[in-house]
């Protein structure tokens, strides 16, 4: 194991008063282990240290909680409102028998609401390198990349085609979900690290890629996906039919849309839901979202689906648009019924339209939000069949030296947090290529810990509900009123108690275990196992257990940390005190100039 002992630059948990040993490891088995032990952090594309920031909220250290977020994901106030929450899907508390996941996203917002967010920008970690980088696109990917490059000592210029920075954050997500001022403040903090932002500059019209490649040491394409996918049905260009992207962007730019009363939104993604809720706020009274599959296949969070229905929007399923009907303008949409077929491993549901099942739904506005793609740009490099430059998603490189890509532009539409993570990883690649070494690396930090002070009764606390503007009619008074009100300090504290603090790792020392099995008797679930052998993978990580009921074959009593809910009952009951507790977190280490990470 690659161990480094360091008195942590990372602040100690004040609850651990005694001096503790701390190890840092980059061994693949330990990195694999984070996935098992801390599923939330592992699920976050940016590896936000979720248990740590939730623990800080519990300890009333709101500023620190905010800071821990910002270190990983840069925009806690923004993400705390609009993140797609891959962490919550994996949260251990959300497993079937254990209840609902922790409100990780809502707590992130609490950190932003209550923490002192007026903090000075971070100091650069390296001296000016004398190199300059141009980033195309000031969306989440571009801004995130700019941040990493700036603190690595590079001169960063961001070119943004629209009039303000933020990308989809500014132009795609409605204000009632993400207030302008929250966004502006966090963008400004990123920009304050020393980058030049030039708005209203469109690559391919105002400047050209070839020129940029001459002028800069590296160019990063982070232009996002702003080309709406068409339905490709007859009548698509009739007046009254909008693309979802155009709809939200017009509103975001201050142009009120012209809407009828009966609106059909065709699409199943985040944009479709935003369009439907905006339509209500801009005058429509009868809004329906039309899905090809069913509402159970949606990626949108359950809370949002509930609010959408509560606002009176209907969600209709199993309908595929076939034809748009109208003479001079939109009059109705014809659909075919669909039948669900297979469920793909990525969660996407395939459907098959049913022949001869046409039916017509009258409407006066249709908003088509079925997806977006990257815009092809003139310039060098290998392109795909649509003309968009091809980027290797591992190396972030194109076929052209010094030309990189990050975010949705390279992958197709994803989510904000994925874009941020992509931008940061791309920046590290650029740093490595231009300066010879990365500035950061991920390592597993392991230190002794005390048994949790969490109480078993906290495991039964119900998930806090986000307060929203009620009654629903009050939300429509002004279309930009933020619907979610944020947790109160009491709610924040209660919700933070629900986190099991999965960074704690409980282990039985088999040299001292007397096989009394009291720990198994008090275990709340099948988390402590009688094991014949463990199964290791090729890097030496434990990936399975061979359990046995035959006493003679039992070689060890093992706590399966994938099942453990860190309740501490085993530690309390062990008569020989052979169960140790340690804290295992994924942390980002700064690599000083010179390449290696100390010794």
């Amino acid at each position: 194991m690659d161990k480094t002992v360091e008195t942590a630059a990372y602040p100690h948990n004040e609850a651990n008063a005694q001096p503790s040993r701390t190890y840092y490891s980059t061994h693949p088995a330990d990195l694999h282990y984070i996935g098992v032990n801390v599923p939330c952090q592992n699920a976050c594309p940016a590896f936000t240290n979720v248990p740590a920031y939730i623990r800080c909220l519990f300890e009333d250290r709101n500023a620190r909680s905010y800071d821990l977020n910002r270190i990983a994901n840069l925009f806690p106030g923004v993400l705390g409102r609009i993140c797609s929450r891959p962490c919550e899907t994996k949260c251990r508390h959300g497993e079937p028998e254990l209840g609902k996941s922790v409100g990780i996203c809502h707590l992130k917002r609490s950190a932003a609401d209550f923490g002192d967010t007026a903090v000075a920008p971070k100091q650069p970690t390296r001296n000016p390198q004398g190199k300059n980088v141009c980033i195309i696109g000031a969306g989440p990917a571009g801004l995130a990349a700019g941040y990493d490059l700036a603190i690595a000592g590079f001169q960063v210029t961001i070119l943004e085609a629209l009039s303000e920075a933020g990308g989809m954050l500014r132009y795609g997500i409605p204000e009632f979900r993400l207030p302008r001022d929250v966004l502006a403040k966090e963008i400004q903090w990123v920009l304050d690290h020393g980058m030049t932002l030039r708005t209203g500059v469109r690559v391919g019209r105002d400047v050209y890629l070839d020129d940029l490649l001459h002028a800069y040491d590296a160019v990063l394409m982070a232009a996002g996906c702003y080309v709406s996918k068409p339905l490709e049905v007859q009548g698509e260009d009739l007046p009254g039919v909008y693309t979802g992207l155009r709809f939200v962007m017009d509103i975001a730019s201050g142009k009120a849309p012209s809407l009828g009363n009966n609106v059909l939104v065709i699409g199943a993604g985040f944009t479709a839901f935003d369009c439907a809720r905006l339509a209500l706020r801009y005058g429509a009274s009868n809004v329906s979202i039309c899905l090809r599959a069913t509402e159970h296949d949606l990626r949108v969070a359950d809370e949002e689906i509930f609010e959408t229905k509560r606002e009176g929007i209907k969600i209709l399923g199993l309908m595929a648009s076939n034809r748009i009907i109208g003479v001079d303008r939109l009059e109705a949409v014809e659909f075919l019924r669909t039948r669900p077929t297979e469920l793909l491993p990525n969660g996407k549901r395939k459907v098959a339209p049913i022949q001869q099942s046409e039916f017509v739904v009258p409407c006066d506005t249709a908003i088509v939000a079925i997806g977006q793609g990257a815009e092809p740009l003139p310039g060098p490099g290998d392109k795909d069949r649509r003309g968009v430059i091809r980027i290797d998603t591992r190396t972030f490189r194109s076929s052209v030296p010094r030309l990189y890509g990050a975010g949705d532009y390279t992958t197709g539409p994803t989510t904000v947090i994925e874009a941020i993570a992509s931008g940061r990883r791309a920046a590290q690649r650029i740093v490595e290529n231009l300066a010879g070494s990365r500035t950061t690396q991920w390592a597993v930090k392991i230190e002794d810990a005390n048994i949790t002070d969490r109480e078993r009764s906290w495991d039964y606390i119900q998930r806090e509900e986000m307060p929203t503007i009620m009654p629903v009619q009050a939300r429509m008074v002004a279309p930009t009123n933020e619907v979610d009100q944020g947790f109160s300090p009491e709610q924040t504290r209660e919700e933070s108690k629900r986190c099991y603090l999965c960074y704690l790792h409980y282990e039985i020392d088999m040299a001292r275990c007397i096989y009394c099995r009291y720990c198994i008797d008090v275990a709340p679930r099948d988390c402590i196992k009688l094991v014949k052998s463990v199964v290791l993978n090729e890097v030496g990580a434990v990936v399975g257990f061979e359990e046995t009921k035959i006493w003679r074959h039992v070689n060890a009593v093992i706590i399966d940390n994938a099942r453990c809910i860190r309740c501490g009952e085993c530690v309390r009951v062990c008569p020989v005190d052979c169960i140790s507790v340690s804290k295992v977190e994924l942390v980002q280490q700064t690599i000083p100039c010179g390449g290696t990470n100390g010794s």
Partner: protein, 338 residues
């Protein structure tokens, strides 16, 4: 060698019809019914009369336990299926029991629909779907004088008239949610108004409910856009929706209900759905349809069982007098009876 097992989820008209029909087809199959409620099989359409005191508890229940013993049908009451794992052909009960099955008939029925807007007031609303609900009504009616009915569905109409004949003052509120999924047309509103008023029920028209508040131990205040209404009890009759949330991650196709074809067959081998929980695509109708009503349920239960045993019977397409709204066809052949 262990017998093959068919599990029937439910204990309503569809489930019981399916169990009986299945036993008639074969004596070899291990038939297990799993019902969420602790009450034995009851006639749901008689609940209003039961609440009003017009019939006794014995009249409400259909099948005595000895019947199941005689037919060698295993019936498990008060046990809830929380998960179906289609790949492993297992289902999981709420007390963490894993039950393997070879064939499955889902007949778990519908549950009372409460519109999302009103869900935070759910504690103040009384529904009438189960005998347990009926008990609550009976308790409440001991001291209540005024009853407000909001929403509007088939049950509400017979309920309103039953309670009025028991001497209570009943007010029926017609709002935009009434008779979902049917849009409340002027004609329908007038028709209902006329019929109910003739039976002694008072009608209020409002366009929507904003809020409910408990003013005192026996008074609830309903805030609508046309004014405030106070009442001892408020009954919510917003119709039924299929009770299929627990099936969402099972691998089965679920939209409003369990998706089946005109033979009540799902996409999966030996898995059927029948009754209020089934969403049937009928090629004659060329659309999906969720039926309501115990007669439909019984017929579907029987057909599902027969098809499971190798039959190929199609459910008859619903008659022309059906309602189409919100993308769903609603068979309300019983509508005519009111």
């Amino acid at each position: 060698m262990a017998r093959e097992r068919c599990v029937i989820i439910g204990n309503g008209p569809a489930a019981n019809a399916a169990a009986v029909a299945l036993r008639q087809e074969t004596s070899e199959l291990d038939i297990m019914m799993i019902g969420e409620e602790t009450f034995p099989h009851y006639r749901p359409h008689l609940l209003p009369a039961y609440v009003a005191g017009a019939i006794s508890k014995e009249d409400l229940f259909v099948t005595p336990p000895s019947f199941y013993e005689k037919c060698n049908i295993r019936i498990r009451l008060g046990q809830r299926v929380v998960q179906v794992k289609l790949d492993q052909r297992e289902l999981v009960l709420s007390h963490k029991e894993i039950v393997p099955f070879d064939a499955l008939i889902i007949a778990c029925g519908g549950r009372q629909r409460i519109p999302e807007r009103l869900q935070i007031f759910e504690e103040l609303l009384l529904t009438l779907k189960t005998p347990a609900d009926a008990q609550r009504w009976i308790e409440g009616l001991k001291s209540a004088e005024t009853i407000l009915i909001v929403g509007g569905d088939l049950t509400s109409l017979s309920f309103a008239t039953a309670i009025v004949s028991a001497g209570k003052r009943v007010t029926f509120m017609l709002d935009e949610e009434s008779f979902w999924p049917l849009p409340l047309s002027r004609d329908l509103a007038d028709d209902v108004k006329q019929r109910l008023t003739r039976k002694g029920v008072e009608i209020i028209e409002a366009s929507c409910i904003k809020r409910l508040t408990r003013k005192s131990e026996d008074v609830i205040e309903v805030d609508t856009d046309t004014g405030l209404i106070a009442s001892n009890l408020v009954g919510a009759f917003y119709g039924l929706i299929p009770n299929v949330k627990f099936l969402v991650r099972s691998g089965l196709d679920v939209e409003r209900g369990v998706l089946v074809d005109e033979n009540l067959r799902t996409r999966f081998d030996l898995v059927y759905a029948a009754g209020d929980c089934a969403q049937i695509y009928h090629p004659e109708l060329r659309d999906y349809w969720v039926s309501i009503g115990y007669r439909n349920a019984m017929e579907q239960g029987k057909i599902a069982a027969q098809n499971l045993s190798g039959g190929m019977i199609s459910i008859a397409a619903p008659p022309a007098s059906i309602f189409c709204a919100e993308g769903v066809m609603v068979n309300t052949s019983w509508w005519m009876e009111f």
